[in-house]
Amino acid sequence: MGVVILLVMAAGVAAMLSRKLPTAFALVLLAVVIAFVAGAPLTGKDSVLDTVLQEGAPALAATMIAILLGSWLGKLLEETGIAGTLVRKIVEFGGDRPVFVALGVLAVSALVGTVTGSAPAAMLAGLIGIPAMIAVGIPKVTAAGTILMGIAVGIPFELPVWQFFSTALELPVDTVRGFMVKLFPFALVAAVAYVLVESRRRGVEHTWSLKSVQDKPAAPSRRKLLGDAPWYALLTPAVPLILALGFELAIIPSLLAGVLYALVTTTRPRDMNRRLLRTLYGGFEVAAPPITLFVAIGILLAAVKLPGAVDALEPLVKAVSPQNPILFVLVFTVLVPLCLYRGPLNAFGLGAGIAGVLIATGIYPAAAVLGMATSYNQVFGVADPTSTQTVWSAQYAGVSPQQVMVRTLPYVWVVALGGLCVTAASYL
């Protein structure tokens, strides 16, 4: 039975890889097939309809709300000109030193990444950040990579991600936060190294481009009338972070506080209602793809945790999972590429199911699975050429996602190695 389930999973990966099915649909289909193979009844206790579909779908509800709030805050950062002002200030102060600009945009991406993560963060920081970097002479691939590496610095402190791992792996938020704090230095050092090393290697470039004099359709921005955001409003991205990290406030109120702070620092009282609603609804649109994915992941998690599935998979997984800490680090570092291209170790895909199996079968402590999954998260968050933020950043900079992957992968692979070492040392 276990072999059949693994084969089903392999077929699911193939379907996602070949783009035959969108990831979310593939995961739900996979979950239903796995549940049937595991011998689950149609209805009742541990069943396909009641347990997998009904209970699985809203299992990650808290994550979905966190994602929605993050997207809302992202929309506010955009509409109030906070993100744009940050980038403009950086260019004004250091535009004649491209490395300074890249490091500054890296910092902005990191801040924005803690709020919304993934594609919305890439757009928020990259929309002005990428052309601004290119305008001061940073090569295109380096510019796209800088945005992605920056977001990855923010990932360890991305509150919706805490919520996700806490719910999906059934761990207290404290544990997730504790590990993320240890993962952060690796992400930070790798990102700064990326900017410094790549700037040194690639230098600057300037083009005589035919596109420079083309009329660009001016974005219909309200910021035009509003001017810069005031300096204290620029602290907005840090607000949820300070509350959640420093004051250990829960995730949803921390994000709400960020929304409130952005609002009162930038908006006249009579405009507040309208702006709140407009940005909230805009946030729904941004949050739609990840929320869809989280519904599917919840369903998949419910399926792999069915007693039948656990019984079938346990002997198999036990046979191949290294218990020795050194072997653990080596094996899972070598397996890093398996989280790319929607691969089986992607925690926002089948990887969540595999993590569920590892925990449900008791092969590793849940905290070790957390370490593994978050380490991989650092890799595909930057380098996966099929993930939305990578595709967007690369294309917006005018290069291919594969070019960006090749240049960023060495750095994030080292981050994963670091995360796995910490995991083995702390939890095995």
Binding site: G84, V87, R88, K89, V91, E92, F93, G94, G95, D96, I128, P131, A132, A135, V136, G137, P139, R200, R201, R202, G203, V204, E205, H206, T207, W208, S209, L210, K211, S212, V213, Q214, D215, K216, A218, A219, S221, R223, K224, L225, G227
Partner: protein, 183 residues
């Protein structure tokens, strides 16, 4: 009239450069004038640089590219040839003498390299006069994104004795290369 059009093109280039969205057109105009003035007075030193010829410029929308590490100027010969042809078609030979496009491209990229020297950067910022921060009497000059492009074009124009800004040629080339995006 023609000088006005050159300046309009320069302002448009600045307006299209990120970080200038929503800037007052008058400010952009002042920056454009200052940048062109600075560029045409520049005296970059001759540095030996490798020139590589390529022929995929029209597809990429490029005429030339300077890369600092290692220092190399890539010249997109197909775009240069198209530009020379365009000069004839439009009857612009008196503005752009035979062979001047190639010379202008090399001068343009030479100017970029020069603008990366610390003392040139500092002078350029002072010439533009945009303030990033003011503390009492002290003030920190701000970088103006896109201004170096204008200075490079102005230098190329002065160095190669062009009658009009290379931006005019760029605009004409863009119209040929991207006919669909012409409104």
């Amino acid at each position: 009239m023609s000088a006005d059009h050159d300046l309009d093109l320069a302002v448009r280039l600045l307006a299209g450069t990120p970080t200038h969205e929503g800037r007052d057109p008058l400010t952009l105009r002042q920056w454009a004038i200052a940048a062109e003035e600075f560029g045409s007075r520049m005296t970059p030193e001759e540095t030996p640089v490798r020139v590589v010829e390529r022929d995929d410029g029209l597809a990429a929308g490029l005429l030339a590219r300077y890369r600092s590490r290692p220092p190399v100027v890539e010249l997109y010969v197909d775009t240069v040839a198209r530009a020379e042809q365009l000069v004839v078609e439009r009857g612009w030979r008196h503005w752009y003498p035979e062979g001047s496009v190639r010379a202008a491209a090399l001068a343009h990229e030479q100017a970029h390299a020069w603008l990366h020297h610390a003392h040139v950067r500092a002078e350029f910022k002072r010439a533009l006069g945009h303030t990033a921060l003011r503390l009492g009497r002290r003030r920190v000059y701000a970088h103006v994104a896109g201004a170096d492009e204008l200075a490079a074009h102005a230098y190329a124009r002065a160095a190669c004795g062009l009658g009009r800004s290379p931006l005019l040629l760029t605009e004409a080339l863009a119209a040929v290369a991207y006919p669909e995006s012409e409104k």
